[in-house]
């Protein structure tokens, strides 16, 4: 019974051993062209469908709005009207007569400031609420009510408190984006597996080490979910807030264009607002992916 079995093993082993290097050599031959072709195909699969949809939508828009007397300009007119703004985003004629780059960068600066504050405060409060049952009982009902207040409802109050547009706008960003960060961080902290806590206990990590080495990495996927929702909300809030506080900023640019009946400029600005919002979202998502590598899959 044993003998034939070993024989079979030997027979199968030899051809495999011979075949192996042959396979390896054929694989080494066409790597570059093939990988390029595959990459091109992958990119095409992702890029072509949205391009077709965009082209179709632009066509419909053009057809609908080209008729005389239509309230909104067709894409061709938008492009003609705003060519200067598109081609030279960096001009600066003083006051609020600046290129779109300056408006966007002013808005982004406000977001960067307000959002950083809300990220720091949000994670800190989230850790507190996630870690302490009493903090949760005390604060959670408050959070649940406050988070439903719309961004612009805070603006008059903050204007009254700060008596200046700039800090008020930053406060509106802060107060809008902090809630999802707090709530998601708290959920993440509460969901840290008991196993990790046990490991920390056996190793005798002190509270600070536990925070840095266990708590933050373990809750990172949740924290980044909150941060991602937060960045979207803060971009949403700043556009609205700037319309009211005025000054340089993409929000007021839109409002100003409306007051001067430059509908094409509004459309261009909306386009930029969408792109920037998209990039911000991707930025946080990408950062989250890098930071939480290994944590998400277990």
């Amino acid at each position: 019974m044993n003998m034939p079995a070993t024989k079979i093993e030997v027979e199968t082993a030899t051809p495999a051993a011979v075949a192996a290097p042959v396979v390896a050599m054929t694989l080494r031959r066409p790597p570059r062209t093939e990988t390029y072709a595959r990459m091109a195909r992958e990119i095409a699969v992702r890029v072509i469908p949205p391009l077709i949809v965009i082209a179709l939508l632009a066509l419909v828009w053009e057809l609908v709005c080209r008729r005389a007397g239509s309230a909104l300009p067709p894409p061709s007119k938008v492009f003609r009207d705003t060519k200067e703004l598109i081609l030279d985003p960096f001009f600066d004629h003083g006051g609020i007569d600046k290129g779109l780059f300056w408006h966007l960068s002013a808005s982004l600066q406000r977001v960067a400031f307000g959002y950083s504050l809300s990220a720091i405060a949000g994670i800190a409060l989230g850790v507190l609420v996630g870690q302490s049952v009493w903090a949760m009982r005390g604060l959670d009902p408050l959070f649940q009510v406050l988070r439903t207040i719309p961004p612009l409802a805070w603006l008059p109050l903050s204007l009254a408190a700060f008596r200046d547009g700039q800090p008020s706008a930053i406060f509106v960003i802060f107060i809008t984006s902090i809630w999802p960060i707090i709530i998601n961080t708290a959920v993440g902290i509460r969901n840290i597996p008991q196993d990790y806590r046990n490991v920390a206990a056996v190793v005798q990590l002190n509270p600070l080490e536990f925070f840095a080495k266990i708590m933050i990495p373990a809750a990172a996927p949740y924290i980044f979910t909150g941060l991602r929702i937060g960045i979207g909300l803060s971009w949403l809030a700043i556009i609205a807030a700037e319309m009211l506080i005025g000054g340089v900023g993409i929000g007021f640019f839109i409002w100003d264009a409306w007051n001067s009946s430059h509908i094409s400029e509004i459309i261009l600005a909306l386009f930029y607002v969408g792109i920037v919002g998209f990039v911000l979202d991707r930025l946080i998502a990408g950062l989250g992916k890098i930071v939480t590598r290994g944590t998400a899959q277990n």
């Binding site: 046990n198 490991v199 206990a201 056996v202 190793v203 005798q204 080490e209 990495p217 373990a218 290994g294």
Partner: protein, 264 residues
């Protein structure tokens, strides 16, 4: 008999609102230095609770744990645990997982280079040095458990606590790891306390087997000495009369006298 680790009249009562459940009742056990003791019992008999009490992760309701005549009631690296589900931190590499404990325990006594070398030494002991830069998600279940063992060993515990360390592994990997643990015990002479529900595993690895009755109010039902010479060889033991007799004793205890009622 010199008591190295002593469990002294341990009772554990869980209280949930009005209902109280007595899980462990009057557990007394002394373990010598270098001894390998297994605790075996049906699931739900409180053996994991007992291990948690020894580890300091749970407190006993009455009674206490003495290690070298000193009471221990909080967790610490002198009673390192190998957890059932490995519990490696997924965001750290294999090396960093072991280093976490090493850096804490030897922060004063070893330099950074010495600590790193000590981490590698322990990874070598469990044959995992090749995977030092891998993350837990990139290695197999058996490898994860090896790293878990290395992490515990690297803290130079006085007692190594194994909480069903091989339960989640397939039979072949389990056998392989059991042999590794046997070899490590032989080489390092650790005092080891293992929770298991595998009769063969208990007989193969242990000097003494502590059999627990069914909960609630689980007690130590019987303690069996395993008079098999070391080093033990799995294949030779399969036909050894002593091995079979020990196995028989444990099986009788578990399946005749203290059959798991709920499972019937």
């Amino acid at each position: 008999m010199t008591a190295y680790l002593k469990l002294d009249h341990i009772d554990k009562i869980f209280t949930r609102s009005a209902a109280t459940t007595e899980v462990l009742k009057d557990i007394n056990l002394t373990i010598e230095k270098g001894e390998y003791v297994s605790i075996i019992g049906h699931s739900g008999c409180g053996k994991s609770t007992l291990l948690n009490i020894i580890a300091g992760l749970t407190n006993a309701t009455t009674g206490g744990v003495l290690l070298e005549n000193r009471e221990v009631n909080s967790p610490g690296p002198d009673r390192a645990v190998v957890f059932q589900n490995h519990s490696l931190l997924p965001w750290l590499t294999v090396f960093e997982n072991v280093k976490l404990g090493v850096d804490k325990v030897f922060s004063r006594t070893k330099t950074k280079a010495e600590r790193d070398a000590w981490v590698m030494h322990n990874l070598n002991l469990v044959q995992m040095a090749h995977a030092r830069d891998k993350r837990p998600s990139e290695i197999s279940g058996g490898m994860k458990q090896r790293v878990g063992i290395a992490r515990a060993l690297a803290m130079e515990p006085k007692v190594l606590l194994l909480d069903e360390p091989f339960g989640a592994l397939d039979a072949l990997t389990r056998a392989h790891l059991q042999d590794s643990v046997m070899a490590l015990h032989q080489k390092l002479g650790n005092t080891i306390l293992m929770i298991t529900h595998d009769v063969d595993e208990a007989v193969l690895l242990s000097d003494r087997i502590v059999m627990m009755t069914n909960g609630p109010s689980a007690r130590i039902g019987e303690v069996l000495e395993v008079p098999l010479a070391r080093p033990r060889k799995r294949l030779e033991l399969a036909t050894s009369a002593t091995y079979l007799k020990c196995r028989q004793r444990v099986l009788e205890f578990l399946y005749e006298r203290h059959r798991f009622v709920e499972a019937a």
